[in-house]
Symmetry: C2
Subunit: 252 residues, 2 copies
DNA sequence: TTATAATATTAGTCGAGCCTAACTTTAAGT
DNA sequence: ACTTAAAGTTAGGCTCGACTAATATTATAA
């Protein structure tokens, strides 16, 4: 063999579907997959056999389907590509949700690791750069609506100056350190230090979450536990006590 | 029939190849296409028959291939999608030329008209917005190299302020009107008025080249004729006398 | 527990898109 | 004009990924 790897776009979609279904229903049945991908039963059976051969799913006839460790890793990577593209299409290009969704799911199969990294980084940069941020993205929206007018830029640039001074000498205006467990949904912060230990620490370091990396809180469950965060394009769900071990400097 | 349209990714690539080869060699031979797409002869013959059935190419056995009017239009649209993606990947994400090229040629097949429009507009916006421009893109490059530092932003924002004032009250600092025929390669300008008549005028208006639209000069031939310009994602080649009918306000 | 409905699998078909091997046509050189 | 090389086509085969129709299994409910 040369490199028996390289899944087809089709098989990637099956794997992606299985992961998504698994996340909400525990395990995937053939019917679920069939519905999710709009294909008929026999197509699913065929795909499952191929995926089982490649050790990406646990599959026995008439039984439910689950991902192997390897399969899960691959599937998560596909979802990551999907989400990175979705973020770009929806949040940056500001296409409507449906277009962003279906386009992302087609493009995802042609995005290499290096392109993915750049894309994630780019979307992050659009949001984080003091010249950019939501203001900048809104400027694009305004530009789309109103021909080629840049008249929203003046107030924006003033905002940029403020943002910038916070980034540069954060020591005076806003050194406020805060634990990740105390932050509100939608807020963001740059990692100051990681007090956490064990699995969480390792997981964060594996993601390249070094001090300075921006963390965004996506959702906090009713009792403040668990906390869903986004970091370098990854989604992560942390228990409150785990989140308390991560010290941030608040942004914006 | 419902809509016998919708070319496969493969056929789109054949059409794209034929256009590109035609542009440099007048007409495409089977061999050229075969080489361009890295497929063997019989694959080309098969594809050509399908394209001929759809009235997209003129094809007779053992003869050279040319595009029909319809085929040319479709091919040009594919190239436009390719180039829009390439611009984004190469100029904005700043991926290396090869990655940008091959990725664009895969992604192009899943880009709808509306996504294309947004993407073209976005790349344009990144370059034109006074908060953005090359400085902003360079900021992204710096951010990629140096972890997550935004320390290049200060001088950039000052530059932004200057750009902005030119955009807003261009009457004082730089109302300089100039004919498109007098501008240098790499320079850009916003359309003030279109004095041109006839075909060129119509062609420009069809592209939606209204006053305010940004035009960039790509190349000027040795004798100043013809002039290659980029406008709203389209490439356009104008004779000097045609270009003289377009009045611009210089930018940056 | 047994009938019935819901799910899943098998078997066989089809088109797209590639290939190799063998043959035909065209172009070039002598 | 004749020979030969290059280019192009035909014939036939293969994989992928979908489908339908028929069959088998499992779940459900009387
Ligand atoms: Mn997909
Ligand atoms: Mn997807
Ligand atoms: Mn392509
Ligand atoms: Mn292409």
């Amino acid at each position: 063999m040369t490199s028996a790897n390289a899944l087809s776009a089709s098989l990637e979609d099956y794997l992606e579907a299985i992961l998504l279904i698994t996340k909400t229903k525990g395990a995937a049945r053939s019917k679920d997959i069939s519905k999710h991908l709009s294909v008929k039963g026999p197509s699913v059976t065929g795909a499952l056999r191929l995926l089982a051969e490649k050790d990406l799913v646990h599959y026995a006839p008439y039984d439910v389907v689950t991902l192997t460790a390897q399969g899960r890793a691959v599937a998560e990577n596909i979802v990551k590509r999907h989400e990175a593209l979705h973020s770009f299409l929806f949040e940056v290009l500001q296409l409507d949700e449906q277009t962003a969704e279906s386009t992302a799911c087609q493009l995802e199969h042609a995005i290499s690791e290096s392109v993915l990294e750049r894309l994630v980084r780019f979307v992050q940069f659009v949001k984080d750069c003091p010249r950019g941020g939501n203001n900048w993205v809104n400027g694009f929206a305004h530009n789309c609506d109103s021909g080629a007018s840049y008249d929203v830029c003046e107030p924006c640039i003033k905002q940029c100056m403020e943002n910038l001074s916070r980034y540069q000498k954060g020591g005076e205006t806003d050194t406020m350190q805060i634990k990740l467990s105390e932050i509100q949904p939608g807020e963001r912060g740059a990692i100051e230090s990681i007090e956490a230990a064990g699995t969480i620490r390792r997981r964060l370091l594996d993601m390249g979450a070094t001090p300075g990396t921006v963390v965004e809180v996506e959702r906090v469950a009713p009792m403040g536990d668990p906390i869903d965060v986004k970091i370098k394009g990854y989604h992560l769900s942390l228990r409150k006590e785990e989140a308390a071990g991560i010290v941030l400097k608040k942004i914006r």
